[in-house]
């Protein structure tokens, strides 16, 4: 057991974790931030993507202990003062979801995509960048549309 201190969605958090506790377990079980989902347990589906120091990470691939001192943002911390982030708004507007299970991970990945590649994203780039995020419901069409629109909206913000 070790004690770690980190910032989650802007709040200081300290937690006792076992060495093998995964970041996703800390978020879901200890901090009750259940918007981060577990789809595959093995770092393939992307349902568990969060931002660690601003970078998209699959939280099932990372030990909680590795997040000591880091700043974490989960889907719950994306909307600011009750206003949806432009990427969230775009997913809602463009019907970028069905069951919604992949949605938080998709949004976290999409925001990171814009951070790295800018807001002028062509379709091929978005599709390529979504390699690590599986959606079993939508066929991705509306997700791609949402990301494109969300990226543009982020630029004009």
């Amino acid at each position: 057991m070790s004690t770690i201190a980190l910032k989650v969605n802007g709040k200081d958090v300290s937690a006792e974790v076992e060495d093998r506790t995964l970041l996703v377990e800390l978020l879901r079980e200890e901090l009750k931030l259940t918007g981060t989902h577990i789809g595959c347990d093995t770092s393939q589906c992307g349902a568990c993507v969060v931002h660690v120091d601003g970078v998209a990470m699959k939280s099932c691939t990372m030990f909680a202990i590795q997040a000591d001192g880091a700043e974490i943002r989960t889907i719950e911390g994306v909307a600011q003062q009750g206003a949806l982030h432009p990427m969230q708004a775009a997913f809602a507007e463009h019907h970028g979801l069905q069951c919604g299970f992949c949605t938080p991970g998709m949004i976290m990945t999409a925001i990171d995509m814009v951070r790295r590649l800018g807001s002028d994203l062509d379709e091929a780039t978005i599709r390529h960048e979504l390699e690590g995020n599986i959606c079993r419901c939508t066929g991705y069409q509306n997700i791609v549309k949402a990301i494109q629109a969300g990226a543009r909206a982020m630029a004009s913000q």
């Binding site: 093998r20 879901r28 009750k32 931030l33 259940t34 918007g35 981060t36 989902h37 577990i38 789809g39 595959c40 347990d41 093995t42 393939q44 589906c45 349902a47 989960t74 889907i75 719950e76 994306v78 909307a79 949806l84 969230q88 708004a89 997913f91 809602a92 507007e93 019907h95 979801l97 069905q98 069951c99 919604g100 299970f101 992949c102 949605t103 938080p104 949004i107 379709e123 091929a124 978005i126 599709r127 390529h128 979504l130 390699e131 995020n133 599986i134 959606c135 079993r136 419901c137 939508t138 066929g139 991705y140 069409q141 509306n142 997700i143 791609v144």
Partner: protein, 776 residues
Amino acid sequence: MDLGDIVKGSPPPAVVHKPKPHDSAAKHMTGEAVYVDDIRTPAGTLHAAPGYAPIAAGRVTKLDLDAVRKAPGVVDVLTADDIPGANDASPKGIGDEPVITPERIMFYGQVLFVVLAETRDQARRAARLARAATAPGMPMIDVDDAVVADSTVLPDYTFERGTPEDEIASAPRQLGGEFRIGGQEHFYLEGQVALAVPGEDGDMYVYSSTQHPSEVQHVVAHVLGLDSNAVTVEVRRMGGGFGGKESQATQWAVIAALGVRKTGRPCKIRLDRDDDMMMTGKRHDFRVDYKVGFSREGGIRGVDVTFAARCGYSEDLSLGVVDRTMFHADSGYFYPTVRILARRMRTNTVSNTAFRGFGGPQGKLFAERMIDHIAYSVGRDPLDVRKANLYGGAGRDRTPYNMRVEDNILPEIVNELERTSDYRDRRRALAEFNASSPVLKKGIALTPVKFGISFTLMHLNQAGALVHVYRDGSISLNHGGTEMGQGLFVKVAQVVAEEFGQELDRVKITATATDKVPNTGPTAASAGTDLNAQAAMAACRAIKERLFDFIEQEWGVGRDSVQFREGKVIIGNRAMDFGELAELAYRNRVSLSSTGFYKTPKITWDREKATGQPFFYFAYGAACSEVTIDTMTGEMRVNRVDILHDVGKSLNPAIDIGQIEGGFVQGMGWLTTEELVWDSAGRLMTHAPSTYKIPTASDVPEDFRVALYESGGNRADTIYRSKAVGEPPLMLATSVFSAILDAIISLKPAVMPRLDAPATPEAIMRAIRATGAGDP
């Protein structure tokens, strides 16, 4: 405004037919939408993890659980001996699916015991410490093994009309063949999960990610030896179902309930993804053998086909699933004489189950493959052979099960798509491309879809709903359907809002629960909206009836002069808020709550005699796909897809288009990249997304054009003349498979390659080699 005028004539619908967002969209954006795994568990909740059989067939001779019991955090272990009632999770209660097998092992991964521990991690680690001594038997793994052993889960079943063997023999041309159709893993993104909480008097409250709460309720009661009224099952939403949670969510819910029974503590189980893939059933895979006789132009005279399905170790839903294969072995084509024989093979593998299309896609894939075979052998464009064989008017409108196809719009849909997809010009361009491209080859195909709507098990075609209007005019809606992302809840809520003339946000959608609406069928067969929206409408109408009477009494205004619209109630030339009316009605002791019930009219099916009208109507569609294959590597890309699909008058076009796109891509995955592999010992080798390839965003063609077929609406009297849309679009993807065949054929015209599904790069290479193309 003269209110008197407004009342004349009914206004156009304000909420239905509109592209309303999914009811939970806002909550999904912020992570607030709660799935079973997200429910805050009561203090002391235990976590269950299954231990499983390490062989596919045989017996357990000794199960040593000492190390398991001693492992950290372990509170208890469940074995078959802990089951107070029936040890059976089968949907029909026929005793062939032990919740925890006592001794006999029927597939690799069958549950032998269940660990209950303080944490999930502890339970899973402890499960590995068991030592099982076994006496292995000879497993039957694939269909061929079972055919040799003549091992089935159910008797063979046949549709037959005329004497196809004579017609085939006397037809100008004959051909035949054998091919394989692979299964499919559901990979609902949210895996199997359940949480059971003890109540008073031994009652059980179960949160289950299930498409069939009533069945979970009944089976939990049966296994625990309780009456059904002691068990309540609730499901707010699933993270995908696709059929994989129709019957196969039950076992896990039962295990959680058994954990409660044994320990008195709440108990939760969430399967690890690899375990989920290993322990739960999939789409049935098939071996298909066929013969067909036809004219020189490719007109079908007689068809004789045998389907052998891998059902797995138990019956599960294989009766209905494989029947639906037979019902759809015609795709959209008329077979003057026909025999369709289906065999349901019992194997030592996980029990195959419902999967979007419920066997239908496999039947249809056969038909398209046969048509392609005919077309290439007579040297015609497969589209022309397809069109020549479509159902037509009198004399060409009987299905192999003798139902008349009365609502056929396939010729119109196919013609329209042929035009809008520019099929003929592209076919020519493609031939030129292929002539000048030695390695890359293109193919194109346009295939129809016709899918029968209704459960073929007649009693499932019923639904119930419960609607309350509160004194402030807000509405609470409940029905027996479950939400798995398909948009059922929002569609039903649209219908309810429309009935009361309210905005959608005045309707509160509540979790499906067996203590609100009892004795429901599964949310399946694409029928969720058809059934539940009708039941909800019936409940609304019952309440409105009472309001009409009250209005008449109170103001002397007849119902013809009353309208519910724009949040108001217009009563003759007076208008009031709906809430105001609700309050007045309450004060005058009018009941504002009602159940509603619906059963599908007209349908009949006598399975024994194979006669009747099993389907209320058909849903239609067509897709045109173009692909490029690399003949050196077998790689394949879908270049463009055009879809024209019939949803009647859509209740919600945004939701429906989403279903079409998602269904198509899922079908494309089934037929191209998703390959299930078992080794000879019966171990599933593809038990994670690392080895089982689900389509990703970049597998989907950028040029993907989806249109809804414009029509006056469903000819059958369905809710707002809409049509079911859950399953039919999956079958649009057979156009991809036919297009791949088309590309391969271009190497050596008129030689039909043997291409099995899925058409993985390996399968494509095998097919190319088999044509002998490139051979000197």
